[in-house]
C-alpha cells in the first residue's frame, strides 16, 4: 500500500465518519459543525485529486459561507434546538434501508463498468489548471453561457431569498 493510498483512506474514513455524525447528531449546531468537518474532508479529497482551485473554493464557499449561513439559520430557528422530541422519523429504518440499497445499487452498477478501476495519468508539468479553467469559463465556444447564467441564478436566489425571509404578513 502506497502513502497516497493511506492518505486517501484516512481522508475517506474521516469524511464518511463526520458525514454520519451530520445525519445522526441531535444538536443541530453540532450537526452543522460536523458538516464543516465533512466539507473539509471533501476539500482534502479535491486536493488529493490535484484540483487546487476546487479545493480552495470548497473551503471558501462551503465552510466560509454556506456553513456560516446554516449556523445563522439554526440560531434563528432555535426553538427546536434543544427540545426533547426525537430528531428522526419513527420509521427511520426505512430510510436506512433505502440508503444502504442506494449504495449497493451504485456499487453494483459501477462494478460492471469497464473504466471502474482506471488509474490516473500524470498531469503534464506545464499544464496550468487555473488558467485553463479561466479560459474554459470565458471563451465563447466553451462555457461562457453557464458562466453568465450562474450570475442570473445567483441573482434569482438573492431576490427570492430576501423576499421569502422578509415578507411581513
Amino acid at each position: 500500500m502506497t502513502g497516497e493510498q493511506i492518505i486517501f483512506l484516512i481522508t475517506a474514513g474521516y469524511t464518511l465518519g463526520s458525514g454520519l455524525m451530520v445525519v445522526t447528531t441531535r444538536n443541530l449546531v453540532h450537526a452543522a459543525l460536523w458538516l464543516v468537518a465533512t466539507l473539509f474532508g471533501v476539500a482534502v479529497t479535491y486536493a488529493l485529486l490535484n484540483a487546487n482551485f476546487i479545493a480552495v473554493v470548497q473551503i471558501v464557499v462551503y465552510i466560509g459561507a454556506i456553513a456560516i449561513l446554516f449556523i445563522f439559520a439554526v440560531m434563528l430557528t432555535r426553538k427546536d434546538l434543544r427540545d426533547n422530541t426525537p430528531q428522526m422519523n419513527k420509521n427511520w429504518w426505512v430510510g436506512a434501508l433505502l440508503a444502504v440499497l442506494t449504495f449497493a445499487g451504485f456499487a453494483f452498477l459501477l462494478q460492471g463498468w469497464s473504466g471502474f478501476s482506471k488509474t490516473a495519468a500524470a498531469i503534464p508539468s506545464e499544464f496550468d489548471a487555473v488558467g485553463a479553467l479561466g479560459e474554459a469559463l470565458v471563451s465563447p465556444n466553451a462555457y461562457v453561457l453557464p458562466f453568465e447564467v450562474a450570475s442570473v441564478l445567483l441573482l434569482a436566489a438573492l431576490v427570492g431569498a430576501v423576499y421569502l425571509a422578509f415578507n411581513k404578513k
Binding site: 471533501v42 490535484n50 462551503y62 454556506i66 434563528l76 422530541t85 430510510g95 459501477l110 474554459a136 450562474a150
Partner: protein
C-alpha cells in the same frame, strides 16, 4: 496510485449518507444539511472524472464550479423558506408543515 473506483465508492457512500439524512431527519434545517452532503458527493465524482479522464478538458471542473453556484442558491432559498415558515408557523419540523397536503 489510487484507482478511480475508490473515489467513486467514497462519493457513493457519502451520497447514501446524505440520502439517509434527508429521509429520516425531522428538522427542515437538518434535511438541508443532508442535501449538502449529496451535492458534495456529486462534486467528488465530477472532480474525479476530470482527474482520471482528459486533464486538459476542463468540463469536470467547470461543472463542479456550477454545482457550487447551485448549492449556494439552494441553501440561500432553502434556508430562507425554513425561516419564513418558522416565522409563520413557529416550527421547523418537516412533518408538521402539512398545509399543502389538502
Amino acid at each position: 496510485m489510487v484507482p478511480l473506483s475508490w473515489y467513486l465508492m467514497l462519493a457513493a457512500a457519502l451520497f447514501s449518507i446524505g440520502l439517509f439524512g434527508v429521509l429520516v431527519r425531522r428538522n427542515a434545517v437538518a434535511i438541508l444539511l443532508g442535501v449538502e452532503l449529496m451535492l458534495n458527493a456529486v462534486n467528488i465524482n465530477l472532480v474525479a472524472f476530470w482527474r482520471y479522464g482528459d486533464v486538459t478538458s476542463m468540463a469536470g471542473q467547470v461543472f463542479t464550479v456550477i454545482v457550487f453556484v447551485v448549492a449556494a442558491a439552494e441553501v440561500a432559498v432553502g434556508l430562507a423558506l425554513v425561516i419564513s415558515v418558522y416565522r409563520r408557523r413557529n416550527t421547523v419540523v418537516a412533518d408538521e408543515l402539512d398545509m399543502m397536503k389538502w
